[in-house]
């Protein structure tokens, strides 16, 4: 029985294909064809990282790779988080412009406005630290939101901090570190235990 693997396109794509190579999975076709989505021979389906938990939870893929940021945001998903794959390292941060717009909003207005692509993570972080936050969900470049006065700060993922810097933002709080994770469907985890354990073993020892 072959495993179906959900592979994230985007920032984790290269690292993930390199990892699959070390497992002896032929990724040549996946590398050469960036329009095709399903590669039946290799057992690979490619998708946005945030869709990986959906496919794995449903069992359309047995295992998958996605960022911890995605898993934090979709913490209600019923999937096993099996391994920290250690690549794709990023930080989930609160960032804001010059001065102290977040502190000042909290002092004067009692609440802060935060733009993010990670509304649950952001809401949880501010709730856990006892601060009233109004979360504004945006789909595109989050850095734009504070520049236009839409919000006082943002919660976002950053690797180098370059994009933040170029938009006049700086990190004011760190929420956590995120890396790529191997996840599994709970039923496949039992019914395809041997194949999944073999993948885990190989990655651990490699």
């Amino acid at each position: 029985v072959k495993l179906t693997i959900a592979v994230p396109r985007g920032a984790l794509f290269g690292g993930t294909l390199d990892l699959l190579d070390t497992l002896g999975i032929d990724t040549a076709e996946v590398r050469s064809n960036d329009r095709k989505l399903l590669f039946a021979d290799a057992g690979i389906v490619t998708m946005r990282p945030s869709d990986v938990p959906t496919y794995v939870e449903h069992g359309s893929a047995d295992i998958g790779i996605t960022g911890k940021d995605v898993l934090l945001e979709q913490s209600q998903r019923n999937v096993y988080e099996l391994l920290d794959l250690r690549y794709g390292r990023c930080r989930m941060v609160v960032a804001a412009g010059a001065g102290d717009p977040i502190g000042s909003a909290l002092r004067r207005l009692g609440r802060v406005r935060i733009a993010t692509k990670y509304p649950r993570v952001a809401a949880r972080h501010f709730a856990d630290t006892g601060r009233q936050a109004e979360i504004v969900e945006v789909k595109g470049s989050v850095e734009l939101a504070p520049l236009t006065g839409l919000v006082d700060g943002i919660v976002d993922l950053t690797a180098t901090g370059r994009t933040l810097e170029e938009n006049g933002l700086r990190v004011v709080e760190e929420i956590g570190e995120c890396t790529a994770r191997l996840i599994a469907n709970p039923v496949a985890h039992k019914l395809k235990a041997e194949q999944i354990d073999r993948v885990v073993e190989r990655i651990r020892s490699g």
Partner: protein
């Protein structure tokens, strides 16, 4: 006025109803033949009574007040109501008692779209039979019932609900670690688990145990399940079960073996259950018991998915 129905509920039309009926008839016949009489209990119970069974009323979410101001709740499973029936209507009847049911239960939608608020369960309760004999009967009957509806590749996952907790005490893991560890386990977060135990001398065992699953070879640490395996072998269904030392069930009343039902055509469990030796005592009749509930709409999905693959 909008004509919608609450998300997570559904209207069942004749075509689906016919198929669903066929499935419940097949399962009911298997259960009845094995001596499990069908019972029905009220959809509404006193919340206080449900709470006696489990502190969170087994997840019952829909509450209302009656004329006296007492809190009524829509039941979220049938196990607690049947425990109540046994303690009241069967107070003097010699065990073992065998009951089956086909009934709706209600839970809140917690995880987002597509989750049912109202679901149809078909299940078994075997009261007054000790594990592992009782457990073996429930497991093999469940396998047989799913055979009767046309599934062929289904498996039952079997774990021990108290195993990890016992291990934490045996290994003298500091008390303040227990909750975070058990939370990681129930979230199925093995990366988090590894992190929580990283500085403990017994970390390897604590990390390894929850990922042990397979045949009887994984039972070295789970003595209690070894006898169950032997009984399942005698019943000829040992190859249909997967022992899974990481299996946890959310409900708080389980005390021993826990079960989950799978079919490879679908990525979700078709049902689950386990042993609950302390539940009946809370209603005034101390008897060991175990049971299982199948989600009939999920069984239906599995039957349809298997047909599509064939």
């Amino acid at each position: 006025v909008s004509n919608s129905i609450p998300p997570g509920t559904r209207d069942v039309l004749p075509e689906e109803m016919r198929e669903l009926r066929a499935i419940s008839s097949g399962i009911r016949a298997t259960f009845e033949d094995a001596g499990y009489g069908e019972v029905h209990t009220p959809a509404l119970e006193y919340e206080e009574v449900l709470r006696r069974g489990e502190e969170r009323a087994a997840g019952a979410r829909y509450r209302t007040f009656d004329e006296q101001g007492d809190v009524l709740a829509l039941r979220s499973d049938m196990t607690i109501p049947i425990a109540r029936v046994v303690a009241t209507r069967y107070a003097d009847v010699e065990p073992p008692l065998r009951f089956c049911y086909f009934a709706h239960a209600w839970r809140a939608i917690e995880r987002g779209v597509g989750e049912p608020r109202e679901f149809l369960q078909g299940g078994l309760e075997l009261i007054g039979a000790e594990g592992p004999e009782g457990d073996a009967e429930i497991v093999s009957l469940t396998i047989e019932a799913l055979d009767a509806v046309g599934l062929r590749r289904h498996r039952i996952g079997i774990g021990d609900g108290s195993l990890y907790r016992t291990l934490l005490h045996e290994l003298e893991v500091p008390e303040d670690r227990h909750m975070p560890l058990l939370e990681c386990l129930s979230r199925r977060d093995l990366v988090g688990l590894e992190r929580v135990v990283s500085d403990l001398p017994v970390r390897e065992l604590l990390v390894e145990l929850p990922s042990l699953r397979g045949g009887p070879e994984v039972l070295q640490r789970a003595e209690g399940l070894r006898a169950l395996h032997e009984l399942l072998e005698e019943r000829g269904v040992a190859d249909r079960v997967i022992f899974d030392l990481g299996l946890v069930r959310e409900l708080g009343y389980y005390t021993g073996a826990v079960f989950e039902v799978y079919d490879p055509a679908v990525g979700f469990a078709l049902g689950g259950g386990g042993r609950y030796d302390e539940l009946l005592g809370r209603f005034g009749r101390e008897l060991p018991a175990c049971g299982i509930a199948l989600d009939l709409q999920r069984v239906h999905q599995a039957v349809a998915a298997e047909e599509a693959l064939a």
